[in-house]
Amino acid sequence: MALYQIQNLSFAYAQRQENVLQEICLQIDEGDFLLVCGPTGSGKTTLLRLLKPEVQPAGEQSGSLLYDGNLLKDLEGRKGAEEIAMVFQSPDDQIVMDTVWQELAFAMENLGYSPQTIQRRMGEVVNYFGIESYLHKPVFQLSGGQKQLLNLASVMMLRPKVLLLDEPTAQLDPVAAREFLQTVHRVNQELSTTVIISEHRLEEVFPLVNGVLMLSHGKTAYQGPPRKVIRQVWSRQKDCFWHYLPAVSRLCLSLNGNDVNEESLPLTVRETRVWAEEKKLKKKVSTPVGEWEQKKELVSGKTGSSPDLLACRDLYFQYGKDQPLVLKKLSLRLKKGDFFAVLGGNGSGKTTLLKAITGLIKPQRGSVLWQGQKLKNPDLSEISSRMGYLAQNPTLYFSCDTVEGQLAKRAEELSLEVKGERMEQAIDLFGIREILSKHPYDISGGQQQKVALALVLLSDPELLLLDEPTKGLDPLWKLQLAEMLSKLLEQGSTILMVSHDLEFTARYAGKCALLFDGQIVAADYPRNFFCDNYFYTTVIQRALGDRLPGVIGLEDVNLC
């Protein structure tokens, strides 16, 4: 029995002409796991919110939308709240209460359940999701991953039939995201809860789902089982959805797409290895080994005579007397023109490192050298005039009503002499001309990031510090970000990025390092770095590293 039957669903927001969704036809059965993907602004969130009466946006709706055989709008309020659950993107903003315990009870309290029933269900849910260890903690002490898991557990308290997830892992690091998606998968498999998820992290979701819906400008672009959709996207080469497919599938298709039939199309590393074994892949591909070997000598040699732009020497830092050391004898050297990426898990001290460099915090021991000069008792304005720091959350930069106003204000603060000219330059570089008159909160996350980056760059910093710039961005935005960064590098900027994003780092960074246990444990060129790693490396390298030494990304294989 179909749970949702959607026929020719179109939707336009109130007081807007254009349709956000057009002619969507969809049938979702009980126990389905459906992935909705597409570029930012393609209507994913709108579609998801239309499926739950309480959170439907205001606007004009046409076509039919049936839930459980009846019109969704006729669904009784209580039933709607209980049977259709939704988890949103931001882990923080959807939490209402102060402690984990209260948050879990919140939904059932709203529906007037007795304390005994609530406690009993909480006992079940806490065990199922493994949150015993922080049940009584205040919410703000949790990590992002724990918060999102709490949000999931909190809606599961009502035993819903349908779970709607709107980019639930966009704000999480890869490890937490994987854990979250595995939990969702478990819920789907063990409880047969229907799951509809919109995601950018497609590498991990594709193997879990049994249906994919790709949206483009509110219209269905592709629809069907995952492997079928991948084949279809490939058959129409150069489609923007190509970048949304799992790397291993793309690899397999671009090597010999015509031979691959639908069933044998690999989605995971394991399947790729089986496929490569069958194809005897080894002999067919030439790899850029020669170039790689040369570079290796470059980085390990201590002969680099050009002076460092920035050097950190033996930094030690802890947040309090009894707190653990976040940075332990951390040393780092940055040359002019570098694009240096620092990788590391959550809580490994990446953000702390950036703060120490900008002078926001003062390390207990060690020093930060700027062009060989010690920055003792750092005078913040003196240092920060040479560095630009882009925080994780771009909205923290916005205080004006329009993007243009924000840029103008910043230019004025900097008392730039060639104000207009610089602004024009930035607007062109980032391609933000069409959103100049919009409110900074009304544009997409990727656009916000561009604007924030433009704001930071107005002061023309010599060193650009980026804190997780790819967080929550869809694959196309990542391409755009990479393009902008390479333009900046051409203009002579130096970039230090801290990130979780292995694929992005592997492809674009000039050097990278692993921050672990408060110190840099490996610093190398990306190709050496990722080839030497076994767990902490790109999907392609994990799948084919032994067959094709030196290959870390798709573009390395395309040579043949």
């Binding site: 309480e54 949103f88 059932m108 023309d460």
Partner: protein
């Protein structure tokens, strides 16, 4: 935090703290006040090994010191002049009154410190949730907002500091910057609150009468302790109205009289209740550990 005295029903602990905060205001007697102060100090030490006490002790001592110094300087009542300070008499009575007043303030503050440890927001809400569930819920949300805003403010400030390129600032620029940070905070919080509202509605908020999941069962021992606390606490307060626990300071110091009376013993019994419960538990643990 739910062992010993804290594990009693919130109604009991709440009553105890109401009485112990009122008591010092009823007595003006050095022995009574010292006893109350001593009891609150011991209770604080038993509750959290004196952590909260150590953290705030500078403030407490400073405040007590100020009262003790300033009362005799500004209050010239009393008949026994000790010395003259800038042509104003400093009397023995006023000095003693200052000491008593400092004792009173300290006892109330320390009792309140212990109160925040024992009657947590959760327990307090439970007491009033059944009467006004919606108000209780609103209080929880508001209470959460204050530290939330503080954390957000910190984040914005550090990001704004690090954006780079800003020259050194004058005072007016700093003030304008402060306004801007506040502006960002408000916009951000409104945006976040919108999300929170959607997530609340998605989980059925406002559909019907709310219930409360918190239960603190009223056990037998709660009943016994309630009777005990009501008897001793009631008698202590009643005694104060009958004239016990008063010591004459003005115009001249009165005679001390017999301190040990039925009333003083009742007060001591009342004061000692949480100390007895906490201490018993502490000894138990100590005993078990030493056996192992």
């Amino acid at each position: 935090m739910s062992s010993g005295f804290s594990s009693l029903h919130p109604a009991l602990t709440f009553t105890y703290f109401v009485v112990i905060i009122v008591l010092p205001m009823l007595f003006m007697h050095p022995v009574y006040l010292s006893s109350i102060l001593l009891a609150t100090v011991i209770l604080n030490i038993l509750l959290d090994k004196g952590e909260g006490l150590l953290k705030n002790i500078k403030f407490y001592l400073l405040m007590a010191g100020v009262i003790m110094v300033f009362n005799p300087l500004f209050n010239q009542q009393g008949s026994t002049t000790l010395f003259y300070f800038r042509d104003r008499p400093v009397t023995l009575e006023a000095s003693l009154y200052g000491v008593l007043f400092a004792l009173l303030m300290l006892s109330i503050l320390l009792a309140f410190l212990a109160y925040t440890r024992v009657v947590t927001a959760n327990r307090f809400l439970f007491l009033f949730a059944s009467a006004a569930p919606k108000t209780a819920f609103n209080i929880t949300v508001v209470l959460r907002f204050i530290p939330l805003m503080k954390r957000r403010l910190q984040e914005i400030t550090s990001v704004q500091q690090a954006i780079g390129g800003k020259p050194s600032k004058s005072t007016s620029q700093k003030a304008r910057e402060g306004m801007e940070i506040l502006n960002i905070l408000v916009t951000w919080s409104l945006e976040a609150a919108l999300q929170t509202a959607i997530s609340m509605r998605a989980r059925g908020y406002g559909l019907g009468k709310r219930s409360s999941a918190v239960i603190y069962p009223f056990e037998n021992r709660d009943f016994y302790w309630l009777v005990f606390l009501c008897l001793t606490g009631g008698a202590s307060m009643l005694g104060a109205f009958l004239g016990h626990g008063q010591y004459q300071v003005y115009p001249s110091l009165g005679s001390f009289g017999p301190v040990i009376s039925w009333h003083y013993l009742t007060v001591l019994l009342f004061l000692a209740t949480p100390i007895y419960i906490e201490g018993k538990e502490l000894l138990q643990w100590h005993f078990i550990r030493s056996k192992i």
